[in-house]
């Protein structure tokens, strides 16, 4: 029979195995969040279609029509939707997983399970929204008779990148939120601000057009820049060039976010039950 040893700072050993053993919990938590989400609403699941559609409309009008931003020969709604796809995934995952530990605090302080399951479950829930938006995008492409480029085969890689960025940032916020509820106010700010500092409503090439390449490198420090550029490159193809130096910086940023996120979460999770 397996022997378990509990000691100060000793929980590490079986962590990843435990995480695997509790893999069904990911599914159940995501399933619960989805089931509960639209209970007692009138419009129900339609919300997950209405929200991205309206956002797309606003962004198209503001950036495309009023701001008259260049679209690189792509219908502006599709351009916007392509940027919104990873951005909305990132922002909902960030706010949901950021709050996840605190909203599930009764579970944290009463039952043992690998804590990472909770924010991960929230990221998975957000991914369902992401898939719904993908369907909207596909619909829009049919509407505009837009044929995606061959680069689209690389899309899963960028989805993975979006996943890593969301999970990494979500872990940071979730762990910080346990002790510092300040992040409850910081997260909406990041989400609001991020919409403008990420190339959601416009093309990131616009930055180098206006301020030159060094500025674009600086801009790429925002990991979501690389993710969004990657999405546009693989879906829209054509004239969309992947700005490699910038992309690499973003990629490094994403990896860093994920690794440090896991590190910080693991470091602090042992005291979650005491602090929460």
């Amino acid at each position: 029979m397996e022997e378990l040893i509990i000691e100060a700072g000793r929980t590490e050993k079986n962590y990843w195995r435990d995480l695997w053993r509790y893999r069904e919990l990911f599914y159940f938590l995501a399933w619960r969040d989805l089931l509960v989400r639209y209970k007692q609403t009138v419009v129900g699941v339609a919300w997950s279609v209405i929200r991205p559609l309206l956002t797309m409309l606003v962004l198209t009008v503001v950036f495309g029509k009023l701001g008259k931003m260049p679209s690189g020969g792509v219908p502006y709604p599709i351009l916007v939707l392509c940027g919104m796809l990873p951005w909305q995934f990132f922002s909902t995952a960030l706010s949901e997983s950021g709050n996840s530990l605190v909203t599930n605090s009764n579970m944290i302080s009463k039952v043992y399970f690998p804590r990472m399951v909770v924010p991960a479950g929230s990221v998975i829930t957000s991914f369902v929204d992401f898939l719904i938006t993908v369907i909207i995008l596909a619909g829009m492409m049919v509407w505009y008779r837009f044929v995606p480029s061959v680069h689209v085969v690389a899309l899963p890689l960028f989805v993975l990148m979006a996943f890593a960025a969301s999970f990494g940032a979500g872990l940071w916020i979730a762990a910080l939120m346990v002790e510092y509820r300040d992040f409850r106010f910081v997260v909406p700010f990041i989400v609001q601000f991020g919409l403008y500092v990420s190339p959601v409503g416009y093309l990131s090439s616009r930055v180098s057009d206006l301020y030159g390449d060094p500025c674009r490198l600086l801009y790429s420090l925002n990991p979501m820049v690389g993710v969004i550029d990657g999405f546009r490159w693989s879906v829209l193809g054509g004239e969309q060039q992947l700005y490699l130096p910038g992309f690499c910086i973003s990629l490094v940023g994403v990896v860093l976010l994920l690794v440090t996120g896991i590190w910080y979460f693991r470091k602090t999770e042992r005291t979650f039950a005491d602090v929460i």
Binding site: M1, E2, E3, L4, I5, I6, E7, A8, G9, R10, T11, R21, Y22, E24, L25, Y27, F28, L29, W31, R32, L35, V36, K39, Q40, N104, N106, M107, I108, S109, K110, V111, Y112, F113, E179, Y180, R181, D182, F183, R270, T271, A273, D274, V275
Partner: protein, 427 residues
């Protein structure tokens, strides 16, 4: 040795209080501290140490062992460290020092219904709760019918649990947890909820888990009656430290006796201020079971109270009497020495001893305190009256025939006689 499933060595858990600031303005302090850090060196070292030393040991040097199939009770007053111990054992929080070795899967019922979502139906919550407690989907599916049957909520399986009565909620929650089949089950206060019928069912389930299925149970409860009945050994925690560990009935009676200095024997030597007056003085009082002085009485055993006194002057009819009080201060009864031929006969100087015998199957479980007095009734005069002279604890660990029968829960009432009953088929 191979049979030891839980091995706890010098376990300690420290909480730092004062360091944990109020939740809403937390981050500001971190920024403040970061800004102030360079200036901190200007402050004296001692000053800083003082600030961080507000610590509190919830557990200190706790060691014990549990063998396979044992049911261990953990008792103690509020804040004694019981919950902290269970939290460490179930890996919710980690110890500050010491180590625990556990063989087998641990499941904890620290609070039933953890992770229940009010909007979800009973059926959905069974799956969710099962997964949180560590069951796989296949496992839950296999036990689903048993869980539903145990919880008695078949009709409401597809109703959101927010519409459940609290009783139904608890029944469902306990049912899920009870079917977990861990090697080690940790139970905390689940029996405080639910009606008597369901409590009995839960206790029965725990007994079968421990007995027939050979699993180990750690049981925390304030219901000492349930602890003595279910557990063979008990760990008594006091202020984070283990106070006593051993046989359940023994430790429980010590626990109940704790807090009052009254014991089974009280003696007043010559010259010491013994209760009394110029007529009579109390010398010795003790509680005996089977002729031996004992502070612990099994519910079906007769108890003798020996009152030893010295008559100093001749001329009064002296009637010793005892008053017995339950834990909550209720007077159970008063007994006088009416029948021994001394009812009308004055006692001449000398030592006397009066023995009161109370039959078995009379008291309810708990601590009984005895007041001893001696009076004269014609005319009425009280010569002395000694409250809390002695005390003893009535426990029920016997498997003998008692009025409890098969009921395992809390049985209220001040006395618990074994009543003769007879049932006949009338038609």
């Amino acid at each position: 040795m191979s049979d030891t499933v839980i091995h706890v060595e010098n376990l300690s858990k420290r909480y730092v209080i004062g360091h944990q600031r109020s939740k809403e303005d937390g981050f500001r302090h971190v920024i403040e501290d970061a800004v102030r850090a360079p200036f901190k060196w200007l402050k004296s070292r001692q000053d800083r140490q003082k600030r961080t030393r507000e610590e509190f040991w919830a557990l200190k040097d706790v060691s014990f062992e549990v063998k396979r199939g044992e049911v261990i009770g953990i008792i103690g007053r509020n804040g004694a460290g019981k919950s902290t111990l269970l939290k460490i054992l179930s890996r919710i929080t980690e110890p500050t020092s010491g180590r625990i070795r556990i063989k087998g899967r641990v499941a904890s019922l620290l609070e039933v219904g953890t992770g229940f979502h009010p909007e979800l139906t009973g059926r959905e919550n069974i799956f969710l709760n099962g997964a949180i407690l560590g069951m796989s989907k296949v496992e839950i599916k296999r036990k689903f019918d048993d869980i539903v049957a145990f919880s008695e909520i078949e009709k409401f399986l597809d109703t959101p649990v927010k519409r459940y009565s609290s009783g139904m909620y608890v029944r469902l929650a306990f049912a899920v947890a009870a079917h977990l089949e861990p090697e080690i089950l940790i139970v905390d206060e689940v029996l405080a909820v639910g009606d008597a019928e369901f409590q009995k069912k839960c206790l029965g389930k725990m007994e079968s888990v421990a007995g027939r299925e050979g699993r180990t149970v750690l049981f925390v409860s304030h219901q000492i009656a349930a602890v003595t009945r279910l557990c063979r050994n008990v760990l008594w925690l006091d202020g984070g430290r283990p106070k006593e560990y051993g046989r359940a009935d023994l430790i429980c009676s010590h626990y109940l006796a704790n807090g009052s200095s009254t014991s089974a024997k009280r003696e007043w030597m010559n010259g010491s201020p013994a209760p009394g007056n110029e007529w009579v003085r109390l010398r010795n009082v003790d509680v005996r079971v089977n002729g031996e002085i004992d502070s612990q009485v099994n519910i079906d055993q007769p108890v003798e109270i020996h009152v030893d006194y010295e008559v100093l002057r001749e001329g009064k009819v002296l009637i010793p009497n005892i008053h017995l009080f339950a834990e909550d201060g209720t007077l159970i009864f008063i007994a006088h020495d009416w029948h021994s031929g001394w009812r009308t006969r004055p006692k001449s100087p000398g030592r006397y001893k009066t023995i009161f015998t109370i039959p078995g199957n009379f008291f309810s479980e708990g601590r009984i305190t005895v007041k001893v007095a001696t009076s004269t009734y014609q005319p009425f005069e009280v010569h002395f009256e000694e409250s809390d002279a002695v005390a003893f604890t009535v426990v029920e660990s016997a498997k003998n025939e008692t009025s409890r029968g098969d009921f395992a829960g809390h049985l209220p009432g001040i006395v618990r006689p074994l009543i003769a009953t007879q049932t006949e088929i009338v038609s």
